[in-house]
């Protein structure tokens, strides 16, 4: 098993023919990839399917990874592109910044989790739920910055935008997240 090796060492092993070494990368990044896809596609089953597709694509085109950027930046680019294709297929509106339908859908899908949240009174669960109510673009940029440990330059590379645009988008996404927290979790926000 290749758990002690860094990403590039594992990739070299896989490219040299040790296909089982790829499990090391899957185990290392499955939670990151799954969290990102879940926050974009807003549904666990779909997110699992998309995340699986991401790892399969990454494996298939592994020879194209030349190490110019971090492996995770390359991987999250595949996540972003795969999610966009998936959402296009599902004909969901992904670019509207104030798409209430998306918010409502997220709200409905999340109602079970929110009931659970009231019991837990957990700040972390509140943040997770508030993120799930954001539109896919906002949820993606927040997740990339805070959970996937990507710098603004790397996020710009993943999303194919300028670093300055990434900075502005991150700022707007956080502003909208705060609004969501206030609107949907007013009681919990007061408890904090």
């Amino acid at each position: 098993m290749s758990t002690g090796l860094n990403d590039n060492e594992i990739i070299s092993q896989v490219l040299a023919g040790d296909h089982q070494a790829y499990a090391g990368l899957v185990n290392r990044y499955q939670n990151y990839v799954f969290t990102l896809t879940l926050r974009i596609v807003k549904n666990r089953e779909d997110a699992e399917e998309v995340a699986q597709d991401v790892f399969i694509k990454a494996y298939k085109y592994l020879a194209d990874f030349r190490g110019a950027s971090k492996f995770t930046t390359w991987l999250y680019t595949i996540v972003n592109n795969t999610c966009i294709s998936f959402l296009r297929k599902k004909k969901l509106e992904i670019h509207s910044l104030d798409n209430e339908k998306v918010f409502e859908a997220a709200d409905n899908q999340d109602s079970g989790m929110r009931a659970n949240l009231v019991e837990q009174k957990s700040k972390l669960a509140m943040v997770t739920n508030a993120i799930s109510m954001l539109n896919p673009d906002d949820a993606a940029i927040i997740t990339l910055f805070y959970k996937a440990e990507q710098s603004l330059e790397e996020i710009a590379e993943v999303l194919s935008i300028e670093a300055n645009t990434a900075k502005v988008r991150l700022y707007r996404a956080r502003t909208r997240l705060k609004e969501k927290m206030e609107t949907h979790f007013a009681a919990e926000v007061k408890d904090l």
Binding site: E48, A51, Q52, Y61, A63, K123, I131, L152, K167, T175
Partner: protein, 182 residues
């Protein structure tokens, strides 16, 4: 946590933006010292900073979601049926790229040579080409035989054949994909 929307309507967004940059560590050195001073002296900035810092910490410590237990196994099963595609670089034939480049350069050079060949380079009484350059009438250059109907038709024909070839490639890829799924 304090009320998230601050009381001061003017400049609130600006304060937040500057504070987020400060928290993210992307402010310049000068900006950092200005903000640090403001945090010491201004209660509004202090309160806003506390609020944003808490949101930031919550975001950092929010939990990752986990896929099903079989996720890794499923991926490994799927990839066992696949082969890693050769790197894009290795299957783009460099000879084709060079061939195309040569073709276009040859076209440009050919036209230039033909054009210059039609000019009257004979020196006038003062004997300098530089003075003659001003007298060259580019309108006299005759490219019409290259843009005759025959040439244009041949060019269009090649384009149509190439288009049909690409269309055939596209449909055969789709056919293969469809068969795979079936």
């Amino acid at each position: 946590m304090e009320e998230i929307n601050g009381n001061s309507p003017l400049g609130d967004g600006d304060i937040e933006e500057r504070l987020w940059n400060y928290i993210d560590g992307v402010s310049s050195g000068e900006e950092r010292s200005v903000i640090e001073k403001l945090l010491q002296t201004d209660a509004e900035w202090r309160s806003k900073y506390g609020e944003l810092l808490e949101v930031s910490e919550l975001l950092i410590s929010s939990e990752l979601e986990s896929p099903s237990m079989r996720f890794s196994k499923n991926v490994m099963e799927e990839i066992s049926k696949l082969h890693i595609a050769p790197a894009t670089k290795s299957y783009i034939n460099k000879r084709i790229i060079w061939g195309l480049a040569f073709f276009f350069i040859a076209m440009v050079v050919g036209f230039l040579i033909y054009g210059f060949g039609q000019m009257d380079w004979s020196a006038d009484s003062e004997g300098t080409i530089s003075k003659n350059i001003n007298k060259i009438d580019l309108n006299k250059l005759d490219f019409s035989k290259f843009f005759s109907n025959t040439w244009v038709n041949a060019f269009m024909m090649i384009n149509v054949v190439l288009g049909l070839f690409l269309l055939d490639n596209y449909f055969s890829a789709k056919r293969k994909e469809f068969r795979k799924r079936a």
